[in-house]
Structure formats: structure tokens, C-alpha cells
Symmetry: none
Subunit: 212 residues, 4 copies
């Protein structure tokens, strides 16, 4: 890994912006399909119908584009969840919104999700500190949202106090990540509505306290 030092942010023209976006999309597709290592700069610039120099005009390294993809996508993903959390509505309603939103995102950001696996398979030697930090932040914020949600629910009385909020958050995240993982391995689509229903059933009876 080279060129991890700071570099003046470039002001891009409108055309530059659109080309950069194009390359980002192609890179997202390729990383998701082929993995980080197996995706070469050549693959990306060919998919974007441009030259290598162009790539290095926008990003300093392969790391850098990967980090940008993560940051962009995670940010919009997580901030949407944070917005739900901040809403002043009953926890039960939030529960539904939250899960609906996660479900939507799993479908909408299918490509992003594949990046998660890349991160996991990667290690500190392969990625620079920024990439690792970004991933940690994503998980921390996701956890924080869930923990707050659960604790509110417990305070409110809608979620059982028998369960530890920290652990439950971990289990939630596991389910989300694990589902995507199986999708990739088995090459099938587990994310259909029926699966959501089963999940809701389990959680409803498992952790929700029904008003008498």
C-alpha cells in the first residue's frame, strides 16, 4: 500500500464528477462479484471505459476507492437508521420501521453488503487504518442504534427485560450479516418476505411483551 498520505482534494468538473461516479459504481459491482484482491485496477477502468491514469487521477490507490465506497454507502445506510432512532414515535412503531428499513436496505444495498465480506476477509495487513476504522465505526454505530432501541423498548415495557440489550443487538446484527453471508455462499435469495415474517414471529414472541 502506497500513497496513504494526505492529498489536496481535487475540485472536479461536472463531467469529472459523473465519470468518477461511474467508476465507483463499476468498482462496487466488481468488488462485490470478484472480491477485493481479484478485482484489478484494469478490471475497473475497463468496466468504466477509461484509462488507468484516470483512475489514479481520482484516487491515489486501490485502497482509497475501496474506502470511499465504504464510507459513502455505509454513511447513507447507517444515517437512515439513526434518523429512525431519533424519531419521536412509539418504540413498537420504530421496531417496524427499523426492520422494514434494514430489509429494504439489504435489498437496495445488496452490493454494499458484499463489501462487508471483503472487509471481514481482509486483515490489518491488507487494508490501511482508515478502512479498518471505517468498518469499525459502521458496526459501532449500528450496534449503538440497536442498543438504544432495545433499551428504550425495555424502559417502555415493550421488550423483555430478561435479555441483555448488548447481546440482543449483537444477535440482531448477526442475523442480518449471516443472512447475506448465506446468500452469497448458497447463491440463492433468502431475503424474501416469508423469511421476514418468520423472523418477526420469532422476535415478537421471543422478546416482545404483548400488552395484556
Amino acid at each position: 500500500m502506497k500513497n496513504t498520505g494526505p492529498k489536496a482534494k481535487k475540485k472536479l468538473t461536472a463531467k469529472g464528477q459523473s465519470r468518477k461516479k461511474e467508476l465507483l459504481e463499476k468498482a462496487l459491482d466488481l468488488f462485490g462479484e470478484k472480491g477485493y484482491h481479484a478485482t484489478t485496477i484494469d478490471d475497473i477502468v475497463k468496466a468504466g471505459a477509461t484509462g488507468k491514469g484516470t483512475f489514479y487521477w481520482y484516487w491515489q490507490s486501490k485502497d482509497e476507492i475501496f474506502l470511499e465506497l465504504l464510507s459513502n454507502k455505509f454513511e447513507s445506510y447507517i444515517s437512515a437508521l439513526e434518523n429512525i432512532q431519533k424519531m419521536k414515535i412509539p418504540t413498537t412503531d420504530k421496531l417496524i420501521m427499523l426492520f422494514t428499513e434494514i430489509g429494504n436496505m439489504l435489498i437496495k444495498y445488496r452490493k454494499l453488503c458484499k463489501l462487508i465480506y471483503l472487509l471481514i476477509s481482509a486483515n490489518s495487513d491488507e487494508f490501511n487504518a482508515d478502512v479498518l476504522k471505517a468498518t469499525n465505526d459502521y458496526y459501532s454505530r449500528f450496534r449503538k442504534i440497536l442498543i438504544q432501541f432495545i433499551q428504550e423498548g425495555q424502559k417502555e415495557g415493550s421488550i423483555s427485560r430478561d435479555v441483555d440489550a448488548q447481546h440482543l443487538a449483537t444477535i440482531f446484527i448477526s442475523i442480518v450479516d449471516g443472512l447475506l453471508l448465506q446468500e452469497k455462499v448458497m447463491n440463492t435469495n433468502y431475503l424474501h418476505p416469508k423469511m421476514g415474517e418468520t423472523l418477526i414471529t420469532v422476535l415478537r414472541k421471543g422478546i416482545m411483551i404483548q400488552p395484556a
Copy 2:
């Protein structure tokens, strides 16, 4: 990938067996720590204090040792679960044994689990059909065990018939995989007893039907 053609299985001496085992262990460590791509044959042979030729005496390629690791570990992992499934004991007891066993294995086979992430980050272009088939088999057998277990529980009346067995199996696997995934990302240990308790609580109330 080269040399994927058939090749007579080598008969190894006792010393050869132990050296091969040594290299397998070192490779498992390295793949787990550094990832598949970032682990070089050089890393493996240096860790095993041997020459590159020795590696290629035992395996024909990097793929091949990876496949052997997967096959060996998955086999012992899954067959242990299959044995539990075959036992003629009450489903409730099986439930406990199954989860206990999975928990133990997650700890015992921590290194194996890391291989799962490698698989996920890998893709069909990188790995040969054997590796992909082995992984698929692993998941299929795991799913099959869980589905049988759930269906038995539903027949017996100990597991709610409100949930779809297929989907519930998928969720179970997600939780297991997802937990390991988070461990890796957050570099913490989520697999402590309290986490297990929370999980049991959720599942017990969520899907178990308590005898009146």
C-alpha cells in the same frame, strides 16, 4: 490454478504425515490471520520451517491446501452435529446438545470459522469447483440438520408450528455465522456464556412451546 489434474495420492511416512499436519496447522493460522490472498506459500513454508518444494510435494497448489483444510475441518464439525441429530433422545435435549456443541465448536474451531469468511470473500473465479462444492455441501448439511431438528420439534409439539422450518434454519445459521463475523470485524470476543444465555432466552420464548 495449475496441476488440477488427477495425481496419485501420496503414501506418506509417519514423519511425512506429521510434517504435513504441521504445515496444515500453520496454513490454517495464517489464512485465518491474514486472509487467503495475503497468505503466501512463502509465509506457509517459513512458518513450517521448510522449503517451497516441500509444500508442493504435499499439495499441488494453494487452492489444494485450502480445500483440504476446509474439507477436514468441516467434516469433523458437521459430522459431530449429524451424530447429535441421529440420537434417539427428546428433541428438547437435542436442542441443548446441539447449541452446546455449536458453541463449543465456535470456540474450538475458531480458526476454521475464519475460513468461512475467506470463502465468502472468494468467488467462483478464484476458487475451483471443488472448493465451492465443499462449502455448499457444508451449508447444505448444516441446514439439513437444523431443519430436521426443527421439524421433529414441531411434530413433537416442542417447537411452534407458526414458524417455517426452512426459514428458521436459515436464521439459526445466520446467527452463528454473523456472530463470528462480528468477532472478526470488532476484534472482540462475543462468544461468552452470557451471549448464549440471551440467545437461548430469545429462542425459548420465541419458538419453544412451554408445556402447560
Copy 3:
């Protein structure tokens, strides 16, 4: 051999063209001097004062540059002979032109000729179908030219009908190839004018004196 799949032909700049040509010449020298196996990519790029990556920019493998050398040189060699064959001049004149041209070429394309030995020492396991096909085509076209020439001579009455055209063509080719072969083994130059004179004498009159 890898990367034998189709790949878009690169458009080379003028400088690129000349550098590629430079490398081709160096490779021709080296293959001729040291043989195919004994010539390493390293040798070629060092001779061309460039990096290994440059080699792989122009060709996908060692095979590929070898095939290109063969194709290029054989093409110009054989097509010159074919042009003579097509001429509307007396067979006797063609005979002289043909042999003169072959003689010139043996000298001019000394390096090419060494490639023939490489081919012969090579076998179907080592070279891909393209290389073998190219060589076969060369010999077939060479034979075809000679057979046509002989048959025309026989029709015209300038060449004896006692000899089989096919066999005679084979013998001609043998002489040409065999001469080069000896040159290499003995490391001397047999291709001087006196040798040509002897050959013409033999063909013209034979060598045996019949008792009266």
C-alpha cells in the same frame, strides 16, 4: 501456458511498435542461440533493456512471442516462394529463381532457420496448437510449391517423369532442412556457392556414371 484466451489486440504507438520489434529481434537472437527452454523471459527483457512487465504487455506468454516470431518470418519466407511459383516464366527459369531464393533466404533468415530446430525439439505437450499448426502450414505450403513446380516441369518435359513429384518435393525439403541442421551441429557454414553448384549438378545429371 496461461492466458491463451482471446484478448483484444493492442493498438501500439509508433514507439511501442519499435520497442516490440526490438524485443522480437532480441528474442529471435536468443532463441536461436540458446534454445527455447534455455531462453528466459528475463534474458529477453534484459537484452531489450526493459522490465518484465513490458514483455507481458506485448505478449501473454513465452509461447505467444515464439508463435509471433514463427508466423512473421515463415510468412515472408514462404510467400516469396509462392510468388515465384505464380510467375508466368519457363519452369527452368523458375527452378533457378527458386533455388536462388531459397539459398538467399537460408542466409538472410539464418535466425529463422534456427527456429525450425526449436520446433522439432519441441513437442505437442510443450507448444500449443497454434504453434504446431503454424509449422505444419509452413511445411505444407513449402511442399505444395515444390510439387507444383516439379509437376509443371514434368508436363513441360524438363523434369524426368521417372520420379514421383511428392517424393522429390520431400527430398528437396530434406536437403534444405538438413543443411541447416548440420550447420548448427558442426557450427560451420555449409551454405557457400560451391555447395549450391554441387547440388545443382546432382539434380541436373545425377551422380552415377553408367558403364557404356
Copy 4:
């Protein structure tokens, strides 16, 4: 190339002799089929159903077995021709015996002939001085036999004095070598009786018909 230094000749047991002979035959086949480089020690010992250590018991290196093959085969080949040359019979009879013997040998020593190509494709960097010297000796002795034969014929009046004996010998050898060469390239059998007849006709009478 290593171990080219002198080494005490081993006294072999009867069993050792036969095993060595077996390996020599297998090596001859393999070198002929696959070429020198492409034939590995592993190939040879597998074909001989023995271990590598056994190979290195008999020969010090790959070079050494190759040299032994050359020496053995060439010796019996050339000495047979030398014996004909020494006979006190009319040159015309010798001619017939010589060509018959060469023809027989081309068929009998087909495998040996393939070694010639190996030598030619090889170069001084690849083979040690002994191998190169052996080949040179073979050609020199072959030439010497032919030159003596031709000169005797010229003295006797049965061969035209218009041709240079040295050059004619070279042409003879070229034909022999060239025929084998084409056989290999075209993968067909040119060495059938009709070919011999054509060759004899050419040599006897030439091929050109002089206008009256």
C-alpha cells in the same frame, strides 16, 4: 549442470545392469517424445517404476544419461557404417549396402534419430562439452565414411568427378537428417520404399532432362 567431474565407474550386478538398461530405454522413449527439457527425472523413474535415488545411483545428472544414450546408439550406428566402408568389395556394391544400412537404421533407430533434434535444439549452455563433442564426432565420422565412399567411387569411375566429394557428403547427410525432420514435423512416415526408389533414381540419373 552439476557433477560433471569424474566418478569411479560402478560395477553393477546383473539385476543392476538390466534395471539400468530398462531406464535407458524409457529415457530414450521419453526424450524422443517430449524433448530433453520437457522430460523430467520424475518422468523417467516413473516410467522405469523405480525411485529417484536409483536414477542418481546410475547417473550423476540428467546430462549424463543423455550422453550415455547418445554414445551407445551413435557408436553402434556409425561403427556399422564404418564396417561396410572397410569391406573389400566393389564400390557399387558398397553403395547399395550403405544406403540399405542407412535406411534400415533410420527405421531401427527411429528413437535415436529424435535425439539428433534434441542436440540441435540444445546449445553449448545447456549441454556439457562431452555431449557436444560426442555429437560432433558422430557427424564427423559419418561425413568421413561418406567422403571416402564417394572418393573411392570417383577413383573407380563409378561416381562423377564433376561433384565435390565433401559437398556431396554434406548433401547426403542433409537428406537423411531432413527426412527425419519432416517426419517429426508432419507426423507422417516418409521413410517407405517408394521414397528410397525416388532418391536412388535422382542420385543415379539426376532429374533434369536435357533437350536433344
